[in-house]
Symmetry: C2
Subunit: 281 residues, 2 copies
């Protein structure tokens, strides 16, 4: 069972007037902890605070998120362990009505979950994926953010029940690739890597950002651009990533199989050098 | 202060694992109670259960929503009063992950709020409205539903602070009219009434449905169709509606003023005959 904390105290419930519940008015981060290290925290905090500012959630009360997460890890007995944490920031409580109150201190909830390692095979053999029927809507005002509202991902993830399919790829309404239901996607071609630009939909994952950074530092060019779904056929490699799993190579997407993956393998090695150790070497 | 109930018991908080908070995975209805009568309940229940089925929330546990609302009204001391109620249905609790658990009984939360009558002037003089900059995204899978996730309405309602502006009209990304931030919209022309079709965005309000029904029963034709924002200029009357306010005539939208409103006035009279008594006769 996960353990939850708020304001350094254990909790099991949230006030029903919280706008996170009433209106989906909040954001979250899913943060990996490995051997007691809060991984990629700076990137998580940056995305969270940037997103808060974009939708007008007050950030002046959010200066001690790291301390709250640290305290929750201590209190849960996981400070030096592997675990998964979830940091929820909502706009806070207020009266009924969509308009945010003028002074509305945000609420912070920190959840500590057991670490459940993924089977090695997902890293070595790679995963099978599908293209989801549920299309992502276009909303530039919130594109890139990890909003609480995930109904599109829920509908997409409800489309299949086959445990051999590890992820579903979501397209926008113009049939461009956006991301996986719980991951970001990269493809390799002879020109290097490419990943969708996420200007009108999708979550700009911290692992995506980290991978772009280490790829470019190591001479692998990355194009961030609009990618029609038809380009999957021409890609030589395909992988998905998120902050928990690191990189999962894709071995099959529909009828398309992917074989040797020199760039993906190189990136997995580079991730390990950077401290992201998920799956076998 | 509102009073909240769940499973016939008073509550002040919800389990933090509720998918309503974690993922915005739920719906709500705002239901008016006048002189102890739960107004338009059949329409509210129909929209709620239809929406649940569309997104796969289990409905077999939702047969006693009326009884739960009734009991909450009794327990709060409002059974014979005027008040406002909010019925939240979430998918329920489950482990982390977007995929809904196979067996997931929904959670029901019922809130009882004081009735705050709107000033008569909003009905007699009419209201001033604006066109919001925030555009609604297109998502046919959830169009018409009253999802918990209201971030677009929150952003739109945050755009203005002028208390003389009572509502903001939201367009889609093709500049067609969808609805108000908290209301549906109708316009009158020489051909009768028209209201946006809501096939790719917007909430299909119960008052909208009720108005369409009583208009047609009384010989006022209603066209439900795509309405470009440019058609506001050619409309002779404009009004917004929801289940709390009934009908608010629009007296001004930007530079466009609206004068005599025979159809709107007739509809307000018809609403009263149907039991929707809001504002002066």
């Amino acid at each position: 069972m996960p353990q939850w904390f708020s304001g350094y105290q254990p909790i099991i419930a949230v006030p029903i007037g919280d706008r996170g519940l009433q209106y989906g008015d909040g954001l979250f981060e899913t943060v990996a902890v490995r051997n007691g290290r809060i991984r990629l925290w700076a990137l998580h905090e940056d995305r969270l605070l940037t997103s808060c500012r974009r939708i007008g959630i007050q950030t002046e009360h959010l200066h001690d998120l790291y301390n709250q997460l640290d305290a929750a890890l201590q209190a849960s007995g996981n400070r030096n362990a592997n675990c998964l944490t979830k940091v929820i920031v909502t706009r806070g409580q207020g009266p009924r009505g969509y308009r945010p109150p003028d002074d509305c201190p945000p609420s912070v909830y920190v959840g500590i979950f057991d670490h459940i390692p993924c089977p090695d095979m997902l890293y070595t053999r790679g995963i099978d994926i599908r293209i989801c029927n549920t299309r992502l809507s276009s909303q530039p005002h919130t594109a890139g953010m990890k909003l609480l509202s995930r109904i599109e991902q829920i509908l997409a993830r409800s489309e299949w029940n086959d445990s051999n399919i590890s992820e579903g790829i979501m397209l926008d309404q113009s049939d461009d690739i956006v991301c996986g239901t719980m991951s970001n996607v990269f493809m390799a071609t002879e020109h290097g890597l490419m990943t969708p630009e996420l200007v009108s939909a999708g979550v700009a994952g911290v692992m995506r950002r980290h991978i772009i950074s280490i790829a470019e530092q190591n001479g692998i060019p990355v194009e961030v651009k609009q990618i029609p779904a038809t380009e999957i056929a021409g890609a030589s490699e395909f992988f998905v990533c998120n902050s928990q799993i690191g990189i999962w190579p894709v071995s099959r997407c529909g009828h398309r199989s992917f074989g040797a993956r020199p760039i993906t393998d190189k990136l997995r090695r580079l991730l390990r050098f950077s401290g992201v150790i998920e799956g076998p070497a």
